[in-house]
């Protein structure tokens, strides 16, 4: 490889793997996200020239870290208007060690810094979209333009959102620290919500550039793994990471060449990513060993059962139904009940499932919930109630916006009326 290609590859790797950590530490020293970001950006720009000329340093992350710190010192010396300039300069110059002196001594602090940064970016005082954008920008390796494309908003709009969020963090004194024990569970849940939202945005193949969407999934998983390293004792952190991996492993098998959705039972298992499945299963095991079940762990366990047994038998469906029941205990929701009813339908039979569905059908909030009516139709068909099933299929078709699902439901309705 040429020096040029060498330097470019090392730079890309360092940007992806170490930028977040370098930035997190500099933010702690500076108390200013914007200034830290500018300095890190400039350090990477300097590296483009320096690494090509002098070769790639032994410790690329350390090199960037020291260069960024020096850039920040320059800024503070030049810009007299900067707030708390003297204190910040004193902190930074006191730290001005060489790359060689850095090394493992700072490792512990570094772990804490990234955790602090995650909690700041996902702070509940920021609107959800801002949390997502900030997390992807500061801890992930995405640019504002890439985030804008992924979320289908104009780049200036996304830029303003990020600027506003950073200004709010600075001016409203959002803390840069790991929350107290008392607040921690709720705040961890908040962070997980942000990661899962990023993942789902990438996974739900509704609109937008497929490659950009894959980036979102990859970033969510990368951040999930980082969180697993930072908080190995939080079972829900492990559970979410497992859930994302078990879904992502099947992303290429779930759509056929014509872009049609392929149900799990008919997916080509050779197209699944075995390494991701193994990693997901291991994380889930570790999570359950901690003995504190939670929503993400239960969802991951359901996904794991589907993955292990694409043609689930009655017994497997029984286990799935139990997992949904446990989910409903933690956080009752009609969506979970519909899923539980579907599982009970396969494990026990349509009549038992209809008992669960009956009260849901009278809930006005679910009047327009398509999956409930589609399930209701399938269950009635299986009990032999053709008239009832036909009416339920018609209702479900009326509520379907997705063309693929509509075709499938219409096929079932036709089959039903033809056989009568």
């Amino acid at each position: 490889m040429t020096d040029e290609a060498d330097a470019a590859a090392a730079l890309a790797r360092t940007f992806r793997e170490e930028r977040g950590a370098v930035l997190a530490t500099l933010i702690r020293h500076l108390g200013d996200i914007q200034l830290a970001e500018d300095a890190v950006q400039e350090a990477f720009a300097t590296a483009v020239v320096a690494w090509e000329r002098d070769g790639v340093p032994d410790n690329p992350g350390g090199w960037i870290s020291v260069a960024a710190r020096r850039r920040a010192i320059d800024h503070l010396r030049k810009d007299r208007a900067m707030a708390a300039r003297e204190e910040r300069l004193a902190v930074l110059t006191g730290l001005d060690t060489t790359v060689e002196e850095m090394g493992m001594a700072e490792h512990g602090a570094l772990v804490d810094d990234r955790l602090r940064l995650i909690f700041t970016c996902c702070h509940p005082a920021l609107e959800m979209q801002a949390r997502v954008a900030l997390t992807l920008r500061t801890l992930g390796g995405l640019t504002t333009g890439e985030i804008a494309r992924a979320f289908l908003v104009a780049e200036p709009t996304m830029g303003k959102r990020v600027v506003r969020a950073k200004r709010k963090i600075a001016e409203s004194h959002i803390p840069y620290r790991v929350p107290d024990d008392e607040e921690l569970p709720e705040r961890v849940r908040g962070v997980l919500r942000v990661l899962y939202l990023i993942f789902n945005e990438g996974y739900a193949a509704s609109e937008g550039d497929e490659l950009v969407r894959e980036d979102l999934c990859a970033e969510a998983i990368r951040l999930g793994r980082l969180l697993c390293d930072l908080m190995p004792g939080e079972p829900e952190v492990l559970g979410l990471c497992a859930l994302m991996l078990l879904h992502d492993a099947r992303r290429h098998a779930r759509v056929d060449q014509d872009g049609r959705y392929v149900p799990l039972q008919r997916q080509d298992r050779a197209a699944w990513d075995d390494a991701e499945i193994r990693e997901g299963m291991e994380l889930l095991d570790r999570a359950f060993q901690l003995g504190r079940p939670g929503e993400y762990q239960l969802h991951a366990a359901i996904t794991a059962l589907h993955v292990q047994m694409p043609d689930a038998d009655r017994e497997a469906w029984g286990q799935i139904a139990e997992l949904y029941a446990a989910l409903a205990d933690l956080n009752p929701s009609p969506v979970v009940e519909v899923n539980r009813a579907a599982a009970v339908g396969f494990a026990e039979g349509p009549d038992e499932a209809l008992d669960i569905v009956a009260p849901l059908l009278t809930d006005p909030a679910l009047e327009r919930y398509q999956p409930l009516h589609a399930l209701h139709a399938d269950l009635l068909r299986r009990t032999g109630d053709r008239t009832g099933a036909a009416a339920a299929y018609e209702r479900a078709i009326e509520l379907t916006t997705n063309a693929v699902e509509r075709t499938e439901l219409e096929r079932r309705l036709r089959k039903l009326t033809m056989s009568s």
């Binding site: 914007q34 500018d38 007299r80 208007a81 707030a83 708390a84 702070h123 005082a125 504002t144 830029g159 303003k160 990020v162 600027v163 001016e171 409203s172 004194h173 959002i174 803390p175 620290r177 929350p179 607040e183």
Partner: protein, 128 residues
């Protein structure tokens, strides 16, 4: 240490509902005392109703007075707490303890950093 203004908003009728106020009174007194003794509370007060407000504007060196609030809204500013604490999380915790947060709203705003060297915020260019 940063300072925060907790702006207390509620529907005027709600604030005037005397039984509500009486029920909460001892809680307000106890809370203010505790916050003042710990050094958190710098100042606080309840405002008289908006129909006693006078709004002042100076235009072309002429002082104009309007009998009434600057804007008529359903929820009105009913009082304030000026607190000093380490960060927003602390300020939010104090806000959530105020009885008014249960039926009205508390807006939390930090007092802007005042450094004589700093240019006014309007002059600072936005950076992305």
């Amino acid at each position: 240490m940063p300072q925060f203004m907790l702006l207390l908003y509620t529907e005027e009728a709600e604030a005037e509902r005397s039984e509500q106020r009486h029920a909460d009174m001892s809680e307000w007194i106890e809370l203010s005392r505790e916050m003042r003794e710990s050094g958190t509370l710098l100042a606080n007060g309840r405002l008289t109703s908006t129909d006693t407000a006078t709004t002042v504007r100076v235009r072309d060196d002429r002082t104009e007075l309007v009998d009434g609030p600057f804007a008529v809204t359903k929820e009105v500013l009913a009082g304030y707490f000026l607190v000093e604490c380490s960060d927003l999380d602390e300020a939010l915790k104090h806000a959530a303890r105020l009885p008014i947060s249960r039926y009205g709203s508390v807006e939390v705003r930090a007092i802007a950093h005042t450094d004589p060297d700093v240019a006014s915020p309007a002059e600072e260019p936005e950076r992305v």
